[in-house]
Amino acid sequence: MVMTHYVLKGEVLKEKVHLEKNSIINGNGSCASAQKFDKIIEVRNVTKVFDDVTVVDNMSFSIKRGDFVTFLGPSGCGKTTLLRMIAGFEKPSSGEIFLEKEDVTLIPPHKRPINTVFQKYALFPHLNVYKNIAFGLKLKKIPYDEIDKKTGATIEKLRKFTKQEIHEKVTHALKMVGLEGYDKRDVSTLSGGQQQRVAIARAIVLEPKVLLLDEPLGALDLKMRKEMQIELMNIHKNLGITFVYVTHDQEEALTMSDKILIMNDGVVQQAGTPKKIYDEPANAFVANFIGESNILSGVMVADFKVNFSGQIFECHDKGFLKNEKVDLVIRPEDIEISIHNDGEINSKKKDNTLSHFTGSVTSSVFKGTYYEMHVDVGSYEFTVQSTTGYVVGAKVALSIPPQAIHIMRKMKTVNSFKTTVTSENTIEICGADYYFVNENNEFEKGDEVIAEIEFEDIELTDHDDEAPAGGNIGQTYYKGSYYQVQVYTDDDDELYVNTKDEWDVDDRVGIAINPEKIRVRKYVEEEEGEEEQESIEV
């Protein structure tokens, strides 16, 4: 088990990531096991800032040779920027990138043994299929041994591929992607799927140490995408090289990857195998992003006991503080649903399982192999998946077994800002002046302070001119009886608000705060020192 500290914006948070070494699904069984577990790519404290916006924030991780690793996250989370830094198209603002223990941070892309498959293929329109694939081969120089005639010593020299060699390699690559006989075709006459195959062939023909794929299937239709997913997995298996794949499609990531690195706001949220991430999401963001989930707020009353929705449940998690506020995730397929008959307990149930909730079905949709239903139990509306369908309005009982409950630490429990007092009774928050209660004139203008506001004490208004500061809605987490929304403020800060209203992503809001609810205390040095980040092994 590896203990990792994540730095979330404005707040240092310790997060446990359970990474089991050497228990990884093997990407290519045939590869020599001696080489198998070494790090091919290592990213150390990499930060990338574009025009004062931090896109990648002090990120550290490493990738094992031969793995199929996916960077997964919503658009704008920094995953493509991270990939472009590995490819060499962007230089990190700080930090280093290592390839096979060699620092490649400042090495230009054409000198890196890494090739990229681009999102929009980037095929050369003036060259035909054959010439597109042969492009890199014609430039590549390979070492060969030559025996000096005079001295008899072997000298290593560089030579280019011969025409015959290029022809063989291109033909082989075309065969690998299933495009035999297309070599003379003009690239503009190919379909999207065929163009993508050419792009893949062009990259793998050079036998790179790492193949980077930047949302390569994004432009294809669903059926073609599924086919290409299988094919990419086969190519990965046959070549045995490391694949780094970028996508925002969680299903794609879960299907294809050996390992997934989930990112948001330029920070790694969780890294691990698809199963690990699905079963044990590290926080509400991951749980929300990967798969359907019910995310609730609760309180740990003791080890293996959690209180939510007014009941105490058994669970399999421990190690939290007593009465620590936590998020918990319950996957829809883990909830047991049965018909509720007044007064009697379903006879099929085992003795030790109770029906925890009773409620009525509010919607029911058949999804092919299962039904997805929403069940309103009063305090929360659960999403439930079951092979047995119930009609809308049916009275049902829900039972939540202990293994279905996964407890996560809260990403943030309070909005906290390090800021300054701007006048006798105003304080700067999110770039605007807010009134606060300054009892006994405890604080003076210019004082550095910490301001804390509870999630429920912030009010969002429809118009940003009704409040001192404005912002845009980011992620929204449905917590049953209320929504927890993330607000990106105009000065690139972030805060969380609990609200009854439903907001959409990118909605423009005003941020209003009751002066009495702002807790202010003096800022003490060293309170916010960034902790040394331990590298995550992917």
Binding site: G88, H110, T116, F118, Q119, F124, P125, L139, R202, A203
Partner: protein, 287 residues
Amino acid sequence: MQSQPKWRLLLRKIFRFQRGYFVLPYLFLAAIFIIVPLIILFVQAFMSFEGDFTFDNFRSFSEVGGWSLLWRSVQIAGLTTLICLLIAYPVALILSSKNLKVPIIIIMFFIVPMLINVVLRTFALREIFIWIERLVRESRGEIFHLSDNFKIVTALILDYFPFMLLPIYTILRTQDRSLSEAASDLGASKLRVFIKIVLPLSLSGIISGIMMVFLPAISNFAVPYVVMEFFNADYQLLGNLIWDQFSSRATYNVGAAYGLILLLLVATSVAIITKFTKGKAKGGISF
């Protein structure tokens, strides 16, 4: 119900509004100002002053040294085009780079001179040449003349430079940057990326630029006329020879014949360029 007479339905069918009708104004203009004059030019070229059919007009072309003038015009126009291209391409390359924050201001810097009337600009240039010549004469104490070729080429470059810059800039600006990235990813150095990707994909812009500079330059008569201090029998371009037939001499038939020679020559060279670059110039306007 009132039924419409059949003839009206028929008329409506014939004169039903079609998208193609929008092209009519242009066809009308083209007929009046291009096709009819071309026919007149063609007929006049084979007509003597008296109105008889003759080839004399063409024969006189070599007698007045037309071929050497034509060769001279090709050289001058070619040199102008080449220098324009050599200056404009790097400028366009720099302007189209994504790192440049305010390319439009610099583009304006090249375009604003075009807002000044071409005659005025050329006159001003002539004055500058005279001023330079005088300055050198006064400092050195001997008679100094700038070369006539230098004057004409300089004036033509200043006139036509934007026509070379803009098409190349446009094509480079719209070029997909991921293509350069892909090439460099596949192992091409910056120079190779330029030679193998950027340059070939901007070929159509270069061809547009060449045509827009070379064609007006080869038939130009006003620029040499003005910078050569109005008339210099020894140094005329083909344009001046043709112009003379219509202005001072009023030998229209001869002028028409010379004009026809120039026209055929230019049309042939355009056809050759088009055929030569067909299929190669992709990703932009092509002829």
